[in-house]
Symmetry: C2
Subunit: 455 residues, 2 copies
């Protein structure tokens, strides 16, 4: 059988998913609901609709329906850059001389350079359906902002992006890609919002954070007629849209009779990992399969491996609903030497709950080791990976090397979420031997936890 | 039938080309041979083998065999990133509201970001087969250098890249991608070669040109034990390797019963266009089909539309064999406001001969119009194209708009050679209204022609 497996498995268009997979339907203990930050009561649909699009609120709150139909317009857009290839890493296996069989699902073959487009197009579609003028959002490294600007351009929606100031300055190319798609891009914190002004007054000269940018984007959305806020990770709805990754992967693997033993993904807010594992985790939760799931996070931002599980603020300005998650505290900012994304202080409520129940493992890795894996991968597999994705590569290689020791022929699947085209500054540091690792001290973490609300 | 055509046509691995297509076999008048710059006699295989790998020399001189088998190792490498998709541009058609049917073959889905990898891997393979230690080359914008460094890394060959100095400084990211693949990158002209020293003495502070970088790379190759020089375009062998684009395209089109009326590609040195059209031109030359072929070049570097057809130097240092081509003279350098590639002074001998015989048309376009097309394309097709590729997009859109006027349902095929990820500086200029067009004056062109050898 193995001989017949091609380097790249592409589904045909009629094999592409027509439904997203909602893993919450399979969870016995559901993820905890969002809470109103003032009352600490679960957010109602009506309250959420002030911030998010109606249909997306419905998806956010739906813990029951396993399959959610993908609207035809979104299916059509998906055909522009999907199906993404499921790649058998023959060259990497050979290089590692491992008996393991390694597969990765590559989501970088689109102009946004990552999986983010899967949810961006869905969120833009529902905004358009609702008759909105536009949407607001935040972006850090810029992948989400790029994806959203593409999606909005397709549906002719206005797109206002608040970009973390240090990224805005360090990644002018990302900014220009967004401008190509007609988005307006504002460095955050900015003087254009009340919360931005407040943050600037309290921290003059700050280079910004995701938490600040979220607060600004939410303020603009809730104060502008015909606008809503959209988010690129963490939320249930985003994991739902990203399940297109997992459904495609599972369809392709089933077609060739491949059963993964290990499923590995990097985890920042959790959307790509949540999307990849959804249908597999569903099987697992129904007792139909026996997979191991591993979330990989940076040692410098270790929300699962060293965070606390509880309700926390999603943004710095504390204007968003509270979410129950593994968190480092909304004030936590990774040290300046941290490259790339995966820098959010909290983790998706779905993944947090699965992890808390022992249904998923987590591992943290240092960034020098991550870039070593990235370079090794690039040289044999011909894809220069994003630093984020390289966290998964690191652990996939580690696991394949364990197989080499034990002689086990495990099947390893990992998510390769994007390309590193826009991260060459970090690669340069790595080549020049200037890359450093940082592990926050217990005291630093304690300071972050201290800012959590008492619920 | 049309309804059944998917957005993206991927061949399966067993449908992928096993042979390159050598269009020279179909040409009644063969392209003119390379000449020894000292004797003006045709270069012998033995002479060429001092510069190029043995097997590549054989391919360079082979005007007779229509099909050249692709070695299994190269076929395996191709499977890492090929087949490339043949895309039906449904979204662009809809946006333009044209009855034309538009297809493009997208070669940007690999880390080198362009079609260049198709020849890089072949050239690296033959170098390895010959037992060489490494290869040298030049790169301008960096696409070719990136592709070659990937290919050399795969075969564990040393790779020395001379990068045009202004690009080296303006495109540090490209440099870092090459370093990720283990290549050494030297800004050209440099003090590391005799010809570099000479050029620097004559033009202190020069920012370099492709012609200079070629001279340096050839010098190092011919003076180092176990090294040969490799080139990313212009040569017959490169067009041959790039025919994998055309063969895949034709196989995919034949499978769906699609006959293109127009085949359009951008042309710098000519390799991507030559590769795309090869099997189609073969049919045409054998009287079996009736296609129109259009080469698109920048108005600022118009070798076909305003150049002269004759023997010329391939490099500034005049150390390379002479080639008969449409040329602007080896001293011609496009004005500083020219963005992106397509800046070589001459055109492939194969394409030059086809053009001279009236078998191919040529059109030149201004760069502002090119970026307008690029942005229009990016917004609906979801791929941010390279400036080079956008020359083809410009003419494809122009032709589709003509169809809208006349009501003709023409089928248009164009080559989309790469992504614009590394060209955001040019996009930024365009967004800021700072992009200008430049058309060289007749006097400027005359100065270039004056440097041509008298043959």
């Amino acid at each position: 059988m193995s001989e017949a497996i091609p380097y790249k498995i592409y589904l045909s268009e009629d094999e592409m998913p027509k439904e997203w997979y909602n893993v919450r339907a399979d969870m016995k203990v559901k993820p905890a609901p969002l809470l109103n930050p003032a009352t600490h009561e679960p957010m109602t649909a009506e309250e959420l609709e002030g911030v998010f699009c109606k249909e997306l609120v419905k998806q956010e709150l739906d813990n029951d329906n396993r399959y959610i139909p993908i609207p035809q317009e979104i299916q059509d857009f998906y055909k522009m850059y999907r199906p993404s290839p499921l790649v058998r890493a023959y060259c990497l296996e050979k290089k590692l001389d491992t008996p393991a069989k390694i597969y990765y699902k590559f989501e970088g073959n689109n102009t946004s350079g990552s999986h983010k487009l899967n949810s961006a197009i869905a969120q833009a579609y529902y905004a358009k359906q609702q008759g909105l003028k536009g949407v607001t959002t935040e972006t850090g490294a810029g992948q989400w902002g790029t994806a959203l600007s593409m999606a909005c351009s397709y549906f002719e929606l206005d797109c206002k992006v608040f970009m973390v100031k240090c990224s805005y300055e360090q990644k002018p190319f990302r900014r220009e890609v967004m401008r190509t798609y007609g988005a307006s891009v504002t460095p955050s914190p900015s003087e254009t919002t009340e919360v931005g002004k407040k943050i600037l007054a309290a921290h003059p000269g700050t280079s910004g954070s995701l938490g600040c940018a979220i607060s600004e984007a939410v303020e603009v959305a809730t104060h502008s007629e015909g606008y809503r806020y959209v988010l690129g990770s963490v939320l249930n709805q985003v994991l739902l849209h990203q399940s297109v990754i997992g459904v495609e992967t599972k369809t392709a693997m089933d077609k060739y009779g491949i059963k993964p033993d290990l499923i590995i993904g990097c985890a920042g807010g959790g959307s790509n990992l949540g999307g990849l594992i959804s249908p597999f985790m569903g099987e697992q939760l129904r007792g139909e399969a026996d997979y191991r799931f591993i979330a990989v996070e940076p040692a410098s931002c270790p929300s699962l491996t060293r965070g606390r599980y509880g309700y926390d603020f999603c943004d710095t300005g504390m204007v968003c609903p509270l979410a129950k998650m593994y968190t480092l505290g909304s004030g936590f900012i990774p040290s300046a030497n941290h490259a790339g994304g995966l820098r959010y202080h909290g983790m998706s409520s779905v993944l947090s709950e699965l992890y808390d129940q022992g249904l998923m493992e987590a591992r943290s890795v240092g960034q020098t080791a991550v870039f070593e894996a990235a370079e090794q991968f690039a040289r044999v597999e011909g894809i220069l990976p994003a630093p984020e994705s390289s966290h998964a590569i690191r652990v996939a290689i580690d696991e394949a090397m364990k197989c080499k020791e034990t002689g086990e022929e495990k099947t390893i699947l990992f998510g390769l979420t994007g390309t590193g085209y826009f991260d060459m500054v970090a690669y340069e540091k790595f080549h020049n031997g200037e890359m450093t690792d940082y592990i926050p001290t217990d005291e630093e973490l304690a300071a972050g936890f201290a800012g959590m609300p008492q619920i």
